[in-house]
């Protein structure tokens, strides 16, 4: 009942806020998960994720023959993680999570005592692609835009004690599964009701998904007018975006859920989709630099964030934030302070965020 009341209090102001805001995605601070879509200000209702590269080729070729004048399917959005289409050799659960042996001749699981901090660069890389017709709040007639983006994790560094904990939990899990699979009377449906399986699974899941000591994420995106329907517009007009952020998560209180986060962020955006009073398009360039200090105590996070914006404007953002994670899918957010474009006014924001909480620290509340 208390949760429903809280949700009610937060949902209404969030709806009012979200309706009055445009282009918020373009100004999100953390590297976006699908940068191609962010540059186009779209949230595609359907994002195609191919089962294979062959399937992706077929989908695109199928679009070529579907009556589209440009030879490319309209309103098409796809996202792929190239790693899934490769055939890595000798990979196992531990090597996938970047653990490696300092002594390669050690055959024991305990030999996985070190890590490859750059191991996620390819494995977690994703490429997003979109082709859309739209006015983008600028054009009178819809224009054809194409956008491509990529995102990856450059660095992921675990703590020594967390590596040891993963190995301990892994050995328990491994033994349980070996015993299970070694009984010819066990079927995979038995796992669904096994409390012992749930216990070893949860323990290993928590150990492997613990917040890393350091992560560095990078995203890049480019979009351009592909075939303009109005000769007044320059063919090469578009947007560029680059984001990089770091998260240093220092644990305290030794319970695995309490952290002090030190975030830093740098971002560059060039936006060619602006129109002046004479209906002429012009470019804007902005560079954002800044950081955030946040204390995370179980489900509650409290922080302070400062960002400076240079380029065509000279502004800053100074804001205190608070987040409360109601569940893995719902997070309540709030902010108070001075935002970009707010002049001398102090702003306050309340919101609710839906979606899967990946456990990765992200700088909240765009703008």
């Amino acid at each position: 009942m208390r949760i429903k009341l809280l949700l009610g209090l937060f949902i209404v102001p969030f709806m009012m806020w979200s309706q009055s805001t445009t282009n918020t995605q373009l100004t999100n601070l953390a590297p976006p998960s699908s940068p191609a879509f962010v540059l186009m200000d779209i949230s595609p209702s359907t994002v195609y994720t191919p089962a294979s590269i062959k399937a992706l080729s077929f989908q695109v070729l199928n679009g070529l023959g579907s009556g589209n004048t440009d030879g490319i399917p309209k309103n098409f959005a796809a996202e792929i993680v190239p790693f899934w289409y490769t055939n890595p050799k000798n990979m196992n659960f531990l090597t996938y999570h970047n653990l490696k042996k300092s002594d390669a001749s050690n055959a024991s699981v305990d030999g996985y005592d070190t890590q490859n901090v750059f191991g996620d660069i390819f494995k977690r890389a994703s490429i997003s692609f979109a082709y859309m017709d739209g006015t983008f709040d600028v054009f009178e007639t819809p224009q054809n835009f194409i956008s491509i983006g990529a995102r990856t994790t450059l660095v992921k560094m675990l703590r020594k004690q967390d590596i040891k904990n993963v190995i301990t939990k892994y050995k328990n899990y491994d033994q349980f599964i070996k015993d299970f699979v070694g009984n010819p009377n066990n079927s995979i449906t038995d796992l669904q009701t096994s409390t012992d399986f749930k216990r070893v699974y949860d323990e290993l899941n928590q150990a492997i998904n613990i917040k890393p000591l350091l992560t560095v994420d990078l995203a890049l995106a480019y979009s351009t007018l592909l075939n303009n329907n109005d000769s007044n517009f320059n063919d090469t007009l578009g947007r560029y975006g680059a984001w990089i952020s770091t998260d240093l998560a220092l644990g305290f209180a030794n319970n695995g859920n309490n952290y002090i986060h030190i975030y830093t962020v740098a971002r560059y955006l060039k936006d060619g989709l602006n129109i002046d009073a004479e209906n002429k398009l012009f470019n804007t360039e902005t560079y954002d630099f800044g950081g955030k200090l946040e204390m995370e105590i179980d489900k509650l996070s409290v922080g302070y964030e400062y960002l400076t914006r240079e380029g065509d404007t000279d502004e800053y953002r100074s804001i205190g934030t608070v987040r409360y994670r109601v569940s893995n899918a719902i997070t309540l957010t709030g902010g108070f302070g001075k935002n970009f474009n707010s002049g001398d006014d102090t702003i306050s924001l309340l919101g609710v965020k839906w979606g899967i909480n990946t456990g990765e620290g992200a700088l909240p509340i765009g703008n």
Partner: protein, 136 residues
């Protein structure tokens, strides 16, 4: 069911290899000709995971196995949790491309065998790879 010509040869050896982002554990069972062909629980050493450097393993402790049937089962689970069913399917497909069940000691040697895959995404993310081979 596949078949493999072993004759009176011994030892017959099994090798199962898989490259996966998940956790894979394998066990193999021989049927009991004196008990309606029911598959026997194997000794503990017949279970291994893909982090245990599987290599070649002797079937029936190196004794002759002509006339018996071997069932090879690999359980693939994802203890880090796949974020959605589509990613789960991609991970299972990637594992399928690398999966190999091989026998040696018969004709030809080594020989590779087909397998079947069944999977469940929810509530437990698990896939099972199974091969049944008649040893003639």
């Amino acid at each position: 069911m596949s078949s493999y010509q072993v004759g009176a040869n011994k030892p017959i050896k099994l090798k199962v290899s898989i490259s996966t982002v998940g956790h894979a554990a394998t066990a193999f069972f021989l049927n009991d000709p004196n008990n309606d062909g029911e598959f026997l629980p194997p000794p503990k050493s017949n279970s291994f995971s893909n982090t245990d450097n599987p290599g070649w393993r002797q079937i029936n402790e190196g004794n002759a196995v002509q006339g018996r049937t071997i069932k090879v089962r690999t359980l693939l689970t994802f203890p880090s949790g796949m974020p959605d069913e589509n990613t789960f399917n991609l991970a299972v497909e990637q594992a399928k491309r690398s999966y190999k069940v091989q026998l040696s000691g018969g004709t030809p040697s080594p020989a590779e065998f087909s397998f079947e895959v069944s999977s469940i995404f929810s509530p437990v993310q698990v896939a099972e790879f199974t091969s049944v081979i008649s040893l003639t």
